[in-house]
Symmetry: C2
Amino acid sequence: MPSYTAPTRDLQFVLQDVLGVAEADIPGYADLDAQMTAAILEEAGKLAVEILAPLNAVGDVEGCTLENGVVRTPSGFRDAYQTMRQGGWMGLDADPEYGGQGMPYILNAAVGEMFISSNMAFNMYQGLTHGAYSAIHTHGSDGQKATYLPKMIDGEWSGTMNLTEPQCGTDLGLIRTRAEPQDGGSYRITGQKIWISAGEHDLSENIIHLVLARIPGGPDGVKGISLFIVPKFMVNGDGSLGDRNAVTCGGLESKMGIHGNATCVMHYDGATGFLIGEAHKGLRAMFTMMNEARIGVGLQGYSQGVVAYQNAAAFAKDRLQGRDVTGAKNPDGPADPIIVHPDVRRNLMHQKSFIEAARAFALWGAMLIDRSRRTGDADAEALVSLLTPVIKGFLTDKGFETTVLAQQTLGGSGFVRESGLEQFVRDARITMIYEGTNGVQALDLVGRKLGQDGGKAIRAFFELVKDFIKANDGDETLKRDFLDPLKAASKDLQAAAMYFVQAGMKNPQNALAGSYDFLHLFGHVCLGLMWARMAKVAQAGLAGGNGDAAFFKGKLATGRYYMARQLPMTATHLARIQSGAEPVMALEAEAF
Amino acid sequence: MPSYTAPTRDLQFVLQDVLGVAEADIPGYADLDAQMTAAILEEAGKLAVEILAPLNAVGDVEGCTLENGVVRTPSGFRDAYQTMRQGGWMGLDADPEYGGQGMPYILNAAVGEMFISSNMAFNMYQGLTHGAYSAIHTHGSDGQKATYLPKMIDGEWSGTMNLTEPQCGTDLGLIRTRAEPQDGGSYRITGQKIWISAGEHDLSENIIHLVLARIPGGPDGVKGISLFIVPKFMVNGDGSLGDRNAVTCGGLESKMGIHGNATCVMHYDGATGFLIGEAHKGLRAMFTMMNEARIGVGLQGYSQGVVAYQNAAAFAKDRLQGRDVTGAKNPDGPADPIIVHPDVRRNLMHQKSFIEAARAFALWGAMLIDRSRRTGDADAEALVSLLTPVIKGFLTDKGFETTVLAQQTLGGSGFVRESGLEQFVRDARITMIYEGTNGVQALDLVGRKLGQDGGKAIRAFFELVKDFIKANDGDETLKRDFLDPLKAASKDLQAAAMYFVQAGMKNPQNALAGSYDFLHLFGHVCLGLMWARMAKVAQAGLAGGNGDAAFFKGKLATGRYYMARQLPMTATHLARIQSGAEPVMALEAEAF
């Protein structure tokens, strides 16, 4: 069985030393002093290790079952859910007005990494609830908020998001589910939704479905979509549960991974629903949740990489096979631990140098969300809006890759289910797909975000990189190992953006055919920036002489690997982008 | 359920037009005229489509079961096995002296692609038998050959290879299984072997295990290993089956994929075994099989990519979502097929441009094996020996990547088991691991093959590339689209090899830390060469005007994609290699 260790030291490093949360001028951040974040991370880490991690394989093997409309979650999930509720973890960053703890989102994200690493399928139940909470909180009426939010924050009720239908995935304009007005101001919802995570289960008393549907007579396409609250059980005036609503689970999907989470076909057979916000403005309501939800999926991607890497490293230090080419390291044993072999170490360094920068990147994104929400800073909002598809797309692609690399470290053992590595691969795989496939993220980035406000956000990003380089280039070591490679990579990114402006003008396909590579190129520059920032802190820590020298040295060595061995990918991405649409589009559709 | 179409036209193109088998000066190749290979490919394709493909999902869902020492294969496998036997497919390239058909190995490989694409787990039963056949055929005594080969060629008996033990994977020097001499010249074999593919099953009357074991008193390490034949049932003088031997299946592994193939723990409890070849020279006997076995795994890797791609392309032409940015292509429908979107097409082109060159590369490797075996050409042997780790490592890494890309094309449908895509991903994953992990392939390439005979083989490869470029650079289009990119990539490969010579001299870790990237860099140059050769043929075909113009145009467009979008990876691989061992080895082992 795989093991999991809570990386509290690394999380503290990012929160306190790199992002400096305690000193940030964001309302609520003053609470995040080192002692406080350490205590919360410690407590969450304990839960992750002791309660959630042991249920991860159980969830995978048992999966969920549907019988007579009732979905049962795997053994142990109900108890664990109650433990999480009692600990108040579900409302950590929720509005205190409705019973939440009102902590910054960044803390939720930091804690979330550990909950996801230890048990991604389990954590999705509360993750979906959080998404539904946010939609109601932002767009619901006061009455709706009072009715639903306290119990969702508490976890007594859970939530879902219902977008997809058989004929309608990315293209939400194709939604057919109907919402007919009925007496009393509510609507009759009729239609079928598929791939609804946590659509039905036995963890909570009630399930609050958020459903995209079409009010007859409204505009065609996405402009005619509205968002509805459809509770599984109707809620009486006093908050108690009333009749069962006409929404049922018609089936569970058999999936590659995340077996512990119920992926449901949902039938709405004239169910009663309540409009959230304005009619026909449902898409906008969904969109406001998306940055957060997509950053959450980015967290999932790299978090699976974290736990996979931990197990790969443990295996490599333990497994004896072959001898160090420079001389035996374990001369009294039958062979050396395989971590002595350069190619094994290359593999581990690839994993480690990604996950540590990914953590910093995701938490930086979370901090930008806090800044935008808590101070109304429009620049922060524009920047995080630009970075969101990168966090989602890059961290899930590379997070999945990391699980595959970790599995490879184990050789044949990695292919055997017992080791648990192959579950991380199967679970991580979905993160590249849901909440918008990574191809759709690339389209969002290049087709929408990049050019917004005349490219203001990307220019701000370039300024930010330039300023950091300029402010620190007096340090020769930092310059050579980190700033110069970052500068080169950033130049590649600028050249790619410039190509899109010029060649995309002639033919938009020139930009779209390079969108995926642009997302990756951007991701590498972001992680390069994170490493440069972490390296600066680590150097200062070493120079200060009163910190954990081995820890700081480790950061520098890991960062150097990233700059030397991962960042050069930007050149290949740029070359691909600059080859334009012709090689991509030349083949006739019939020839595929 | 996924579909499979036999790519007979593409296989013919490679065999006849690109490799020119019918005109090759290799004994036996004169038989391979276009009509003959077409007929065999047609027949094998029919079997693959009609018999094997429908059993692929069955094998995955049912898996194998062990009860009272008996392993049952999935429903339908027994009948399919008999069909394959009756068709004579198991002995296609086997020695006619023992009942084989004596066809060149290249034909076996071409047919094998289709059998693997349609059902990899099933095909492994005969694949392992073929490996055991080769070992006995090359190293066995006349008596052993007469006893075992005819029934193995016929498929009445099957075979296995037993190398791995719990403490011993890559490092075969750690083998503990004992072989004690007993009266009559045989040995008592005692020990445990793990991960034995097809170690026990219900498809054949007898199973001939080839087992690596240690004769007491022999040298330590790999120099004291011998190879033994251990039949499941003893064979009487008249060829009939005698007593059950003391070899049993102690358990089946629960794996990520290839569920239809039984992966067994094998217990040898004083089983009777017969030495093959000389005592203590067992490793050499295993090595002679390895080129072929590793090329077989390379075939597996890209073949899973082939079937995955076919399903991705079909989905992309069928699924309606969104509109072409340059104007609706399906204006009367609710949306356009997703193949109109540049990023979907990029994904499909990435898959297609890989698999078609991979096919040419693997079959070229098979042709070199034929040349080396059938003409004794030492240069051909040296070249294929150099290319073998590339065929195995590169085609399986990229083959797996292709299945993941194909799964991505389907979005959420790709994650659902019903589509079958996720099975291709899970099945393809093992190819990167077994028959030597791809890290071990890289070690074999850089640590052993590259420097052999003063680098004679790699220099011959460079000559070959140079000669092809020189012979064709009068053609401006070919030069611009194919030869120039190939030249640049080949230069990167030369620079990498040069770096190894210089920096590896100072510290072998400088070479080993770059071995994996070198394998990939080499792989890209090989596929670039294959595309240049295919492009030349396609251009000639187009110019000739009497072929299938759409087919040739498709080849050129697909090849151009590879050169423009995949080949630039060589620069990144070179940059990584030239960064040396420092970034890889700097972190202390304890810090992982």
